[in-house]
């Protein structure tokens, strides 16, 4: 939904008139198409199916059931007199202790207890969007750079760069090794910064990866840790999808590696987390920064004044997440349901002759349509994307919007719809591929 910002008579700031908010990218054109013609099973079965939204809608029933059984989670609950007042007044940027404790415990459970989290290192922000920006303000000066592996979440351009004045330098990854981050790629990105006299402040990874839908292997994490230590820079690990790994064993958090080595060099490591994906609560704006660096914790906490979590929401989630029976069951069941969805979409795509990167986490798969490209370029990719969006009517995300250096890859979300809708989407893809194949055959036979 591109919004033109014209030069007004009285100047706004440079930040205000820049386009670093990123909303003019094609990524958002897909949203527009969906908004204008949204699919509905009953009322608009031929509308655009939203497959560009990484939301987790497969596990709401568990949260709803919990709330039904635990009225004390709400500020409407039968608490002591004055509970509402106390909650409404609470604006301490340390956050509710019970909530921080519950978050630390939840993060621990997701990692199967392989890493411990100290509630006093949990800093609360209104969503991971705010957490990533805040960390950038703390770790880098305007003009400095963060190294980020491609492909990456399109929103990083806004979150890390827009108001901070910091740049992203891509660490190029490609399909030759399943888009894994290599020491060579890390060094190349670093040298690119050096050659433009840009100071590198941190490496920022997303693990599990968005858009790849895959976890980063332990050996790669160790390589990255070794790299940031050698270069004396920070490591930010955005683990927002950590609870969406399909199996508990597959995800290795940087926290585990640090704990195993007794927190040596941990002061340069910071973890971002949120409940938007794992619990499917993006509206509640619950993000956290977990840092092993005391100064960063103190400063982040002070800065969080600009982006605190509603005390009403903290109260609700503190109650829910400190119920270990609930959380254990939720984490386990959520993983299974996501895995099932993933298998369903992979089966459907495979039977249509489409390959995907082998994934093991997240709310999406990374689909390879490069064989269908007329030209192996960004333009070729957008030319393929256009009919998928407007004719097949599926809003999927082109790899170029994720800064993927290899054209032809697309992120396809599968957890923000019912199974029936997913079937409809898979049918449409099947038909599309069928038509393509027959067109190719006729072209071939006409030669």
């Amino acid at each position: 939904m591109a919004i033109e910002i014209e030069q007004p008579c009285v100047e706004l700031s440079n930040v205000a008139v820049s386009e670093t908010h990123g909303e003019d990218s094609p990524y958002f054109a897909g949203w527009k198409a969906y908004d204008e013609n949204p699919y509905d099973e009953l009322t608009n079965p031929s509308g655009v199916i939203q497959m560009g939204l990484a939301e987790n809608q497969v596990s709401f029933d568990m949260v709803e059931k919990y709330l039904e059984q635990h009225p004390e989670a709400s500020t409407w609950g039968k608490g002591a007199p004055g509970w509402f007042r106390e909650n409404a007044l609470f604006q301490d940027y340390h956050g509710l202790k019970s909530f921080r404790t519950a978050m630390a415990s939840f993060m621990q459970q997701i990692r199967g207890g392989r890493a411990k989290f100290d509630p006093d290192r949990v800093v609360l922000t209104a969503g991971a969007t705010a957490a990533n920006e805040l960390l950038t303000f703390i770790l880098a000066n305007p003009g400095d750079a963060l190294l980020v592996p491609t492909p990456y979440y399109p929103g990083f351009d806004r979150d890390l760069c827009w108001r901070t004045g910091v740049k992203i330098i891509p660490i190029h990854c490609d399909s030759s090794n399943n888009f894994q981050i290599t020491p060579k790629a890390l060094e190349a990105a670093y040298q690119q910064a050096v050659s433009t006299y840009t100071k590198v402040r941190a490496v920022l990874i997303t693990n599990p990866s968005n858009p790849l839908g895959a976890t980063i292997q332990r050996s790669v994490l160790e390589d990255i840790l070794e790299f940031v230590t050698r270069k004396n820079i920070h490591l930010v690990s955005d683990e927002i999808y950590s609870g969406s790994a399909f199996s508990a064993d597959e995800f290795v958090s940087v926290a585990e590696i640090l704990e195993a080595r007794d927190y040596k060099d941990a002061e340069r490591v910071h973890i971002v987390y949120s409940l938007s994906k794992d619990l499917g609560l993006p509206g509640f704006r619950v993000g956290t920064i977990y840092s092993y660096n005391d100064r960063v914790v103190t400063t982040a906490r002070r800065m969080s004044s600009f982006t605190l979590i509603s005390s009403q929401t903290q109260h609700l989630l503190a109650t829910m997440l400190s119920d270990e029976e609930f959380t254990e069951n939720y984490i386990k069941t959520n993983r299974e349901r996501l895995r099932k969805r993933y298998e369903m979409i992979i089966d459907g795509l495979t039977s249509s002759g489409i390959e995907c990167l082998k994934g093991n986490a997240g709310l999406f798969c990374w689909m390879n349509l490069s064989p269908l490209l007329e030209k192996p370029t960004r333009e070729g990719e957008l030319e393929l994307w256009n009919p998928i969006l407007h004719e097949v009517r599926l809003n999927i995300s082109p790899g170029s919007s994720c800064h993927c250096s290899e054209p032809g890859w697309f992120r396809v979300c599968f957890a923000n719809m019912s199974e029936q809708t997913l079937e409809v989407a898979l049918d449409r893809i099947r038909n599309f591929m069928h038509e393509r194949a027959s067109v190719n055959r006729s072209l071939f036979s006409n030669r």
Binding site: V10, S13, E55, Q57, S74, I138, L139, R285
Partner: protein, 495 residues
């Protein structure tokens, strides 16, 4: 754990290691004293009474009553649970339409229905703290400046400047005319900035004023609007205390002035608002940016991604703020209670000869203790303040923390406690003032004796007050947020 302190500092940004978060200011020392020794009507009758916290705790009963009667406003109750899913996934930065409508509706009622607000201009932010910062990001570049009349809210230094790189240029006001903003003061500040080659992007006012507790009259408002139009700079009006007006003159919002004058470029006018003071909900982080400039609305809305209001909270407030009956009753009752509380406190002070700036709004009064200063300087004020915090045990806020140009004024909050606690505070002030008056009399007597040639029998009691051991170190660890550094607001109630 590895990195030395120095090395550690170098590895962080300049922003992270500077002092612009503001927490090293003495303003927060009073909070510390309170935290160490908080007043409690039964458990700690001699503790420090928190009078440095501008919170509105007078009307929670009304809100609780409403909530009891409207379980559908919660997404967790049986009545509201069916909304849970839709609300929980809603993260559109436009905000819930009903929420925006409710806010626009509320803002209009607060201004007596004299203005209508367009719900499509209502943009969310992380409290007014977030709103003020967002407005700066939209309007000014690093190094640009905003004019702000003194005295002003201490945390503006952080909110407007820390991450934005914007600077504040104070516009001095004086007690000689009740701290009113004069055209001369504006011009002086503006011209000085021009001479210093500083680019002034706008003027920011708080109306009703914190810490003065007064509203700007119509003529002054028109004069400010005229000034910014002439200079072609922005006007940001922080109207966070709009509904705390409890006496005449009634509140004149910049939105009303815009309707009355024809010379105003609407693209220059922006309002910052919040529910933290008017409704007493600081924990819910409901900040609003309302701009008459379409580009600013659009930009601020994109930026609101960094500080959206929880959809759970939006959902609840939509119900509450669209309940016309409730809102009408709430606004009337809230004003009435504030008026009563203000009277109780200021009349009590008057009886002991302590005056405050006449005020008609806010959750505090601006108290004049100039006659108690040993020296009419910031140091004199801080000495007096330390006595008040440590001996009289009242955490009030010294005027210097508000950049007040005259020493001896203090902001004293009165809406964050019950009537009995107010009376305890008044008794303490009375005792203190009485003691000070005695001491002053004795000093005069001694001086007279000395003039008559008698030896001074110096009592060392006065010097003990300023014992350095009571001085608060500028480097003491400050763990407090300027909002509420303590987990529990003083729920002081004499049972």
């Amino acid at each position: 754990m590895g990195l030395g302190n120095d090395q550690s500092r170098r590895l962080l940004s300049r922003m992270a290691v500077n002092d612009k978060h503001g927490e090293n200011s003495p303003y927060f020392d009073g909070w510390k004293a309170y935290d160490r020794d908080p007043f409690h009507p039964t458990n700690n009758l001699h503790g420090v009474i928190q009078m440095g916290l501008a919170e509105n705790q007078l009307c929670f009963d009304l809100i609780q009553e409403w909530m009891k009667n409207h379980p559908e406003a919660s997404i967790c109750t049986p009545e509201g649970l069916n909304q849970f899913r839709d609300v929980a996934i809603f993260q559109d930065y436009h905000g819930l339409p009903k929420f925006r409508k409710g806010v626009a509706n509320f803002m209009s009622k607060v201004r007596g229905g004299r203005v209508k607000f367009d719900e499509d201009r209502v943009v969310m932010s992380g409290g007014a703290t977030g709103a003020n910062e967002v407005i700066m990001f939209c309007l000014a570049n690093p190094g640009d400046a905003f004019l702000i009349p003194t005295p002003y809210y201490p945390a503006y230094a952080r909110d407007l400047c820390w991450r934005t790189g914007v600077q504040i240029i104070p516009v001095h006001t004086d007690s000689s005319n009740n701290f009113q903003i004069t055209r001369e003061a504006l011009e002086t500040a503006y011209n000085k900035a021009q001479q210093d080659n500083i680019n002034v992007k706008g003027l920011l006012i708080t109306n009703p004023s914190n810490p003065l507790g007064t509203t700007l009259d119509r003529d002054t408002m028109k004069s400010l609007v005229s000034f910014i139009n002439e200079k072609n700079i922005h006007l940001v009006c922080d109207e966070i205390y709009a509904a705390t007006v409890f006496n005449k003159p009634s509140f004149v919002s910049v939105s009303e002035i815009m309707q009355e004058v024809d010379f105003c470029n609407k693209d220059l006018i922006h309002i910052v608002y919040s529910l933290s003071k008017d409704m007493g909900f600081p924990g819910f982080r409901v900040g609003i940016v309302y701009s008459y400039n379409d580009s600013v609305v659009s930009c601020a809305r994109k930026m609101s991604s960094f500080g959206l209001v929880s959809s759970q909270t939006q959902h609840m407030l939509a119900f509450m703020l669209l309940d016309d009956d409730f809102v009408n009753k709430f606004l009337i009752e809230s004003s009435r209670r504030l008026a009563k509380r203000h009277s109780l406190f200021t009349e009590g002070l008057e009886k002991m000869g302590v005056t405050c700036l006449p005020s008609n709004a806010g959750l505090f009064c601006w108290m004049n203790l100039r006659s108690l200063l040993e020296e009419q300087t910031v140091e004199g004020e801080m000495k007096l303040w330390r006595v008040i915090v440590n001996e009289v045990k009242l955490n009030i806020s010294p005027g210097s923390s508000f950049s007040c140009s005259k020493a001896g004024w203090f902001r004293v909050c009165f809406a964050n406690m019950d009537d009995e606690t107010v009376k305890v505070a008044l008794r303490r002030i009375k005792a203190f003032v009485g003691k000070e008056a005695e001491k002053a009399k004795n000093v005069i007597k001694r001086r007279q004796r000395s003039i008559n040639g008698l030896r001074i029998i110096s009592s060392s009691s006065s010097s003990k007050r300023f014992d350095e051991s009571w001085a608060i170190s500028p480097h003491s660890t400050h763990i407090m947020s300027p909002h509420s550094p303590i987990p529990h607001s003083p729920l002081v109630k004499v049972t």
